[in-house]
């Protein structure tokens, strides 16, 4: 039970990072029907910028929380600029082009951003300076049971705050109305006096800002930043967005949390579930091998990265609109 609880905590933390990144995908997709492939790289840039700032400030005697806050505040505008530039330079000219075009551009941008980051920050994994001392709190009565760290708590709280803030922005402000109108019908929204280009640019920027925070979270949670960290994270977050129903805010959050939990529990339990030694009773050959190797399993944690893709394919095949989405299947 302890182990299960611990995996759940791991999954939720990972999942809330996915959720924040997935929001960026979903917002952009909702408004321009474009998968911003380079979104994962924006997360990476956020982590890298924060790394630089934290390293510079680590020697000062500022309180740890202040250092991380400053780093985050530095990463957000940088990422927003990158997000805006992506939209302005690479996507806007292609808004009416066939769908292949912006997608190929996005892959190209992803490669460019990765290699620029490599040139700026080196190709080595960068160790995040540990300004915040990690403290573990026990979740169970007996020692050595499931724990949750202060960083995990911070990530969970921050994600909840950001999601609430975003919801308020979209459903309670004038900008939110404009965004929703643009998502529904660009030309009509334009006729109603909404500056479409501005709204789309702002959407990209907000998504990038969220990505920046996600980057700082990932960096401080795992303790490393690397120029290639964004790509696979982005793919998984995208899968989360699809799982929840792309274009749907609440869906992205739900999808993110679910995917995080699926990954953690999958890696933790798939080995036990597919343990062939359970079949020893029926198959002599298996029993023999289990004598020396009780961990003989059909699948193990080595398939951890497969889960996200399997979820993605399964959702697209069986329920293209995702868990919460009600968009037409033809979109997919």
């Amino acid at each position: 039970m302890d182990i299960f609880l611990q995996q759940l905590v791991n999954g939720l933390t990972l999942g809330s990072v996915y959720a924040i990144v997935a929001l960026g995908y979903t917002m952009v997709y909702g408004i321009v029907q474009l998968i911003n492939f380079a979104h994962g790289e924006v997360v990476m840039i956020g982590a890298m910028v924060a790394y630089t700032v934290i390293s510079m400030l680590a020697a000062t005697h500022l309180p740890p929380l202040a250092i991380v806050t400053i780093a985050t505040l530095a990463a957000i505008p940088v990422c927003m600029t990158v997000g805006y530039l992506l939209e302005r330079v690479a996507y806007r000219p292609l808004r009416r082009a066939p769908r292949l075009a912006p997608l190929i551009t996005a892959i190209g941008l992803s490669i460019i951003l990765q290699n620029l980051a490599l040139l700026i920050w080196s190709r080595a994994p960068l160790p995040y300076p540990q300004v915040i001392t990690t403290v573990s709190y026990s979740l169970t009565s007996h020692p050595n049971g499931a724990t949750i760290t202060n960083v995990q708590v911070a990530i969970l709280v921050m994600s909840a705050l950001m999601m609430t803030g975003l919801m308020l922005l979209i459903y309670r402000t004038k900008l939110g109305v404009a965004m929703r109108a643009t998502a529904q019908n660009q030309s009509v929204a334009g006729l109603m006096g909404i500056d479409i280009n501005r709204v789309i640019a702002i959407t990209f920027a907000i998504g990038a800002g969220l990505a920046a925070v996600a980057g700082v979270m990932v960096g401080s949670y795992y303790g490393v930043a690397h120029y290639q960290m964004g790509f696979i994270l982005g793919l998984k977050a995208f899968s989360a967005a699809v799982l929840g129903g792309i274009g749907n805010m609440a869906g992205a959050m739900l999808g993110g949390l679910l995917l995080g939990i699926i990954e953690a529990l999958g890696a933790g339990y798939v080995g036990d579930l597919t343990n062939l030694c359970q079949l020893s009773h029926w198959f002599g050959a298996i029993a023999e091998r289990c004598q020396t190797n009780p961990n003989l399993a059909l699948f193990g944690s080595n398939y951890q990265d497969v889960f996200a893709f399997l979820v993605l394919i399964a959702v697209l095949v069986f329920r293209p609109s995702g868990l919460l989405g009600e968009r037409v299947a033809d979109r997919a």
């Binding site: 302890d2 182990i3 611990q6 995996q7 791991n10 999954g11 990972l14 080196s122 190709r123 080595a124 994994p125 160790p127 540990q130 990690t134 573990s136 050595n144 724990t147 760290t149 990932v218 795992y222 303790g223 490393v224 690397h226 290639q228 960290m229 696979i232 990954e263 953690a264 999958g266 890696a267 933790g268 080995g271 020396t292 190797n293 961990n295 193990g300 944690s301 080595n302 951890q304 990265d305």
Partner: protein, 429 residues
Amino acid sequence: MNVPQKLGLSLVAAALVTAYGCGKEEPKQAAAPAAAPATAAAPAAVTVTIGSAGPLTGGIAHLGKDNDNGVRLAIDQANEKHPKIGGKDVKFVVESEDDQADPKLGPTIAQKFADAKVSGVVGHLNSGVTIPASAVYNQAGIPMISGSATNPKLTEQGFKNIFRVVARDDQQGPAVAQYLESLKVKKVAIADDATAYGEGLANEVEKTLTAAGIKVVAREKTTDKATDFKAILTKMKGTAPDAVFYGGMDATGGPMLKQARELGIKAVFSFGDGACTAEMSKLAGTAAEGMVCSQAGLPVAAASKSFVTAFNAKYGEIQQYAPYTYDAANLLIAAMQKADSTDPAKYLPSLQSISFDGATGHIEFDDKGDRKNAEVTIFTLKDGKVVPVAVVKGGKAQSFDDFMKVADASAAPAPAAPAMAAPAPEPKK
């Protein structure tokens, strides 16, 4: 399609341009192997070219350059002695090629060396590149010694001219396992990064432990690009291991160690040579203190202080395998001098039967071309530095101090901690 002629013609043009484009490379190609083969008797000295291959660009370029520097140091030192082979003055020259750690480039690079008729090759760095390349060396009859390819298959192909001076995965793995055994651990959890290197090493550790009756309670896998290890670590924690072995590089080993301590896993963490670097303490912080790791051969400080001094003076810190490639180059030279010939066919037998004291200890080759009876040194991380604690030889772990007392008196000056430089890590092999 109303311009078909143009189409045909431009294809011809394209073909010609291609040919011309390659033709343009000619002077460079010809110029690069400045060495004419030994037959072209120059008035001053005969140049003997030794190839050095490894990734000089890309993710593990720092290791590739380190290997290259090891070769260059050996060659420079050899030239200072004004060697004579076959009655003639010879001058050794290094030709370095970049294989980008890309398996499909391995045979191409090997072919370049064969075209240039080099006398011997030191390389490559990764097993995945070395194995396909070795077939080409074999056909060209060029002796090749790798200073870092640990995959057992390399020397299992039956090629007579392929050697290595580094311990095979199935030599290093058992050594770590034997050391763990000497710590009297009962339950061990094993993980690897699903690369040829990490998996190969972890499998050997598992085999040895199981044979010794130590229980392997968990066998987990991650990838060489992962950052989240909490799921598999939590699973390991559930089995309450006394020790954990991870087959992988420091880039993933460091964060893994850090996350393990956060989860409250108190087991001893052990690693292979890929994570036996000072980088570990940067990536894992204080969590890295007390970790255990292994390196093939003797610590350079113990075997050859002079090498360390010379290398540091010329190229700075040793990254990882430079002592091995240094030895490999010296082996080629020694074999040529012994056979009194730079002709691969002639000096190959003397390379096979060589007995040599190098920067990484005593070297002899077995029939396959592997190092005979290789020592493996166990290190621990203390105050951010990797220091030797034990030497495993012939299946027995011996504390490093004891080993030094017994060892050759010539290595008398007690080894200062051989500070391994911090290689910016990434997967290798």
